[in-house]
Structures are given as C-alpha cells and as structure tokens.
Amino acid sequence: MAVSARRRRTGLAAWGFALPFTLLFAVFMLVPVASSLYMAFTDMQGKDLRTPWAVNFVGFDNFAAVLADPKFQQAAGNTLYFVGVAMPLTLGIALLLAVLLNSGLTWFRSVFRVGFYAPVVTSIVAVAVVWRFLLQPDFGLVNSGLGLFGIEGPRWLTDEVWAMPSLIMMATWRNVGYSMVILLAGLQGIPKDLYEASAIDGAGAVRQFRSITVPLLRPTILFCAVITGIGYLQFFEEPFVMTQGGPLGATNSVAYEIFNQFGFGNYGLSAAMSYVLFVAIVILSYLQFRLLRTEK
C-alpha cells in the first residue's frame, strides 16, 4: 500500500536524521555512564587503567565502604550543611534583589543587574584570589574593617568553625546573580494588570507579593531551587581553591572527596561515591518538585 510505504520511508528518514545524534549520545553519554556504574561495583584501581577487563566484581562492597568511611560521612555532613544554609540564603537574596530591581527604578536596574551577575561569569580562580585577600586574618580587608569597630575578626579560612561560613558567603555572593536574573525574568512575565486590578481591590504591597508574585513566580522559583540545589550538592570549587577541604576536614565536600579518591587511583570507590551523590541529588530534586510544584 502506498500509505504504509510512505510511512516506512518517513520512518527510515527519521532514523537517518536521529542516527548521528543517537550515536554521539551513546558514545559520549551512555557508555561513560554505564562504565562508571560498572566501575562502582569493581575494585578498579589506577593500575588497571590499561587492563580494565582484569578487575574484580565486588558487588556492593564499595558502597558499604563509602558509607562506613568517617571521612565520607564528614564530607556528606559538610555538604548538607552547605546546601542547607547556602541554598535558602542564595534564593532568598536573589528573590529580594529581583523584586527590588523590578520595582521601578529603571535607571539603576541595568547597572545592578550587571554588578550582581558579574561574579557568576568571573573565573573561580580570580574570585579565589580576591576572597583570599579579603579574608586574610592579618592583612585582609574584612578583618581590617572589623578592626575599625574594635572587633577582632576570626581566622576565617583556617578556623574550624568559620571556614564553612566563609565558603558559604563566597558561594552565595558568586551564585546569587544567576538566580536573580532568572527570577527577574519571571517577575517581568507577570502581567501588570493583575497588580492594577488588585490595587483597585485595595491590596497592599505585602498582599500583592503573597497572592500574586509568589504564586505566579512558583515555576521560576522551582527552577532556580532545583538548579541551585544540584549545583550546591556538587560543592567542589570553593574548597578546592580556598581550603583544600581543611581545616581538619571542615570544608571537605562529597565532590571534593570523589576528586581526591580519583586522584589516588581508587576508581571503584570514587565511582561508588559519585552514585551516592547522584542518588542524593535525585532525592533533593524530587523533594523540591513535591514542595514547590504549582497546584492544579
């Protein structure tokens, strides 16, 4: 029949078009993912790089070892501490800034938008140099500033208690601009007449924020929360450039520990850690969807 022949031809053409992508996807996405998953169940070490078929299957041993490792537990605790504080802080400040920037005052909007967004596009290495300088205990600007008020600032990056807050401060400063820009776009998508109508009905700014802004901005907030959450669970660059996980492991993160173990050639173990982190990310994202999804 003519119809089915044409359908077959269309089907072939479709596969023809999809093939290059499918192939690339398979080679560069599926194969690495599958092999790292396989790696997580083997005792693969650095010396097995040239003979990856000679590794032993060890079942869930790596996962058991990872979960029982006090250093991984500390890293997991640190990561949760970081996500738990830095995520609400980042989203809160980003929303506040977005609302402020959206409330008239057009002349300074673009200046501030650039100002707050600049850290997002700046290299972490440059950022690290500046922050290390700011946070230096004796010569740093922060402690010099505190000194003017007679406060002796802590040894920010080398104090067990203050190291994580220092990194949270830095990460928030660095990431707030990204969410801010997305939220600002979301705010500008809310029809002005809703505000006008509610104003006629006598709603004040607070009421408008709670009943119009937040509900209509919900999908945008959800997006920002998920993206920030995923990024923060993979907390790596700040400890890598600023503290090397110290002092006393206080800023060691799961991603940094994965990096270290890969460096030591413990491939099986670090692959297992990666999947533990992956599961944590899936769970966090699921929870965020459950909490923030727009009700129908």
Binding site: R50, Q136, L248
Partner: protein, 426 residues
C-alpha cells in the same frame, strides 16, 4: 605532526595488552616479578630522530635552551619540548600512559614517580647511568621496589631561613640541635618578632614539612622488609617537638601561607622552613637589599641530621617511540657539565654531586649551604600509594597540632592509616 605512527604504536600496544589479558597474563600473574630488568645499555653513536619531551612549570619554558646544546652535539636529532602546567600534569600524564600516546622523555616530580611506575608507564633505567654520581637521596627517588625508573635531574631541599638582624639583637646563634632551635625561636621573639618561627600546620604537604623532624629523631617510614614503622618513640618525640612550637606560642597556631613571606619581611616572623626557591621570592618581594637581612642554615639535628629532598627526575616512557635517543638526551641532561649549565639557566640545583665543585655553585654561599644538606636529605618512600597516605598523614599531623590527638594517638593512627592503605606493591 606524525600522528599515524603514534596511533599505530598505541593500537599495537593495546592489542598486545588485550592479547596478554585474553591469554591469562593479567596483572594478577605479575606478582613476584615486579623487579623488571634494567634495559641493558644505551647504544653508541649520536642520537637521531625526534625526541618529544614534556616538562613542567619553569622547566618547561627554559628547557629548550639546554636542548639546543644537545641538538648541536647530535645534528640528526630534534628535541620538541612541550610545557605542561604542574596543576594538570598528573591527570595529563595518567591519560597519556593509559592511551599509550606518550612523549619520549618526561620530567617527573620525585614524589610522583611511584604513581607512574604503578601504571607501568616508565621504562627501567639502563645500567650505563652511574647511580653513584648523584646524591643518594635523589637516586632513591627513582627507585620503586628495587628498580630504578629514571635519573635525578635537579634537587631541592628544606632549610631554615632566619632574620640575621633579629638574631643579632637577641644574641642567639643559628641553631644546631632541637633545643637550640627552640631557644633560637624564643630569642627572635624576644627581639621583637610576633612569632619566632613558622611551621606548616595544615593542608597539602604538611607531612613533607614534618617528616624531616621524624627522620632527625631517628624514625623510618618503612623498615627493611618494606613494612610501615610509623608508631614508635621517634614519632611521638617528633610530633611532640613539632607541635611544641605552636603550643608554646613560638609559631602561629595556624599558619597562613600567603602571609608568611610578608610577615618575615616586616620582621614579624623570625624564621621559617622552606626550599631554595624562597630566596628569589624574598628578593623580588622585598628588593635586593633584603639579602643581608636574612640567613640560611641547615635544619637542626637530633639523633641525626635530615632534611627533605625533592626536585624532579627525567624518565623515559615505557611506550616511547624513540627510546634510545631519549636515553641519550637524559644522559646528556644529567651529565655534570650540562647540570652546571642548567643551574645557570634555571637556578635549579644539580642532582649530580660533582657539579657542585664548579665555582658557579661553590662560590655562592646561599647555594653552597644546600650541598651539605643534600648529602643527608631523605625522600618519602617511592610506593604507588604514597600520595594517598600523605593525604591521611597531613590530616593526622594537623589534628595533633590542634591538640585533638596526643602524639601517642597520632603515631598509632598514622600506622593504622598507612597499613590499611598499603604500599600498593604486590
């Protein structure tokens, strides 16, 4: 670029390894035969063909200048130097070794040797190269499990930098033993420094800074049988001594590395331990006049004198395309005369002992102090797992300084951590 032969070599190599694995000659069968035979000898006659060299950091930038001499002596050879940043060198080399796409010669940091040998990446050193010409501590860094896999190229060691003006004010002499160092630091502090001495307290390489003290107390990391011997009197004594400086307020409880040099220049810090590169660093920051304000002396002795020996070796890759000319290049670069030339080009200290008799080194007081230090300087063990063990030890030393562990607990923990990681040798 001649990519094809390289790919062909890589393909042959991987097919070979595949064939070996399929016929049941996997890695597990290699146990007991790790002592590979050294390559017999380097052939006579001039080198030829292309020699690909990877070098890191400053060495990568300056090496072409030395290579020109080699090219002049061997008209048929071209040396291509690729500079590799230190930060990404380990990953890059690991990848190269795994894929077989390797250079012929490579600069390898002394503490990284065993890792690459663990990947079967380096070729054994030919017998022609005379190990006695080098500082013993430097030669040891080329040896993994009894076989040498490279040749020492340049060395560095740790010494004590101190403010001569403060020492004069305090009326203290440069220290020669442990008690002397404590008194010296206290004296510098009395003469107006905020801290008499600075010792590394945390982060990467804390263990490298600490281990000279352990060796001075008579400790060994591995015994003759190759077992870890970290839990002993010497360890407890050294940990207690090392942390006493922080505990007694002679050294900053947590050292901020970024501020060390500036504090020293400002006279807030009386002394610190560092390597040869720090001299140039001080003079660039403070100006050349600062040279008469500080002195350099060997680290103090306890049971024995010991410092840490670092630096780089030159190694030929197991998969090198042009191994014969590669070894000739290595032989050239580590010959006494070329070592002196290299010192003049790069300020890197020669690994060959006889090069130090050259006036270029012998007449320079700041350099000459290293010669004696290097004779007894030691390296950390060349075992494939060392970087992982060092990472654990860094943390244990940090905890001891912070007072979270007693020296006894720390010594036990060091032994436990090292044993559980193992040496990585079959």
């Amino acid at each position: 670029m001649n990519r094809t032969p390289r790919l062909a070599v890589a393909a042959t190599a991987s097919t070979l390894t595949l064939a070996l694995a399929l016929t049941g000659c996997g890695r597990s069968d290699e146990a007991g035969t790790t002592t590979a035979d050294s390559a017999d000898s380097i052939s006579e006659g001039p080198a030829s063909g292309a020699v690909e060299v990877w070098a890191m950091g400053t060495e990568g930038e300056l090496l072409p200048e030395l290579a020109e001499q080699f090219e002049a002596d061997n008209p048929d050879v071209t040396v291509n130097v690729t500079p590799v940043p230190w930060e990404s060198s380990t990953e890059k080399i690991n990848t190269a070794i795994a894929t077989g796409e390797v250079p012929d010669v490579m600069q390898v940091g002394t503490t990284l040797m065993s890792g690459f040998v663990g990947l079967d990446g380096l070729a054994p050193t030919p017998e022609d190269i005379d190990s006695d010409a080098f500082f013993p501590g430097a030669w040891e860094t080329t040896e993994v499990d009894g076989t040498s896999y490279g040749v020492p190229w340049y060395v560095e060691s740790r010494v004590l930098y101190y403010r001569t003006d403060l020492a004069e004010d305090a009326g203290v002499e440069a220290p020669e033993d442990w008690a002397g160092l404590t008194d010296f630091a206290a004296g510098l502090q009395d003469a107006g420094a905020d801290n008499g001495i600075a010792l590394q307290t945390r982060g990467n390489s804390t263990a490298l800074m600490y281990f000279p003290f352990y060796w001075q107390a008579g400790g060994e990391i591995l015994d003759d049988a190759g077992e870890f011997t970290l839990d002993n009197e010497a360890q407890v004594k050294a940990l207690d001594y090392y942390s006493s400086f922080m505990r007694d307020g002679l050294a900053p409880p947590v050292l901020v590395e970024d501020e060390k040099v500036q504090n020293f220049i400002d006279g807030k810090l009386g002394s610190f331990v560092s390597g040869p590169w720090e001299r140039a660093n001080l003079l660039t920051t403070a100006g050349d006049d600062f040279a008469d304000k500080f002195g350099v002396v060997p680290l103090p002795a306890d049971e024995t004198t010991a410092s840490f020996i670092g630096g780089s070796n030159l190694a030929v890759l197991a998969d090198a395309e042009n191994p014969d000319s590669a070894w000739k290049f290595v032989q050239f670069a580590t010959d006494p005369a070329a070592q002196v030339d290299w010192f003049e080009i790069s300020s890197d200290l020669p690994a060959v002992q006889s090069s130090w008799e050259d006036p270029a080194l012998a007449d320079d007081d700041a350099v000459a102090v290293y010669q004696g230090v290097l004779e007894t300087a030691r390296s950390t063990p060349a075992i494939p797992t060392w970087s992982e063990i060092e990472h654990e030890l860094d943390l244990i030393i940090e905890q001891t300084i912070a007072g979270d562990l007693t020296p006894e607990e720390a010594a036990a923990k060091m032994q436990e951590a090292a044993t559980s990681i193992g040496t990585g040798l079959d």
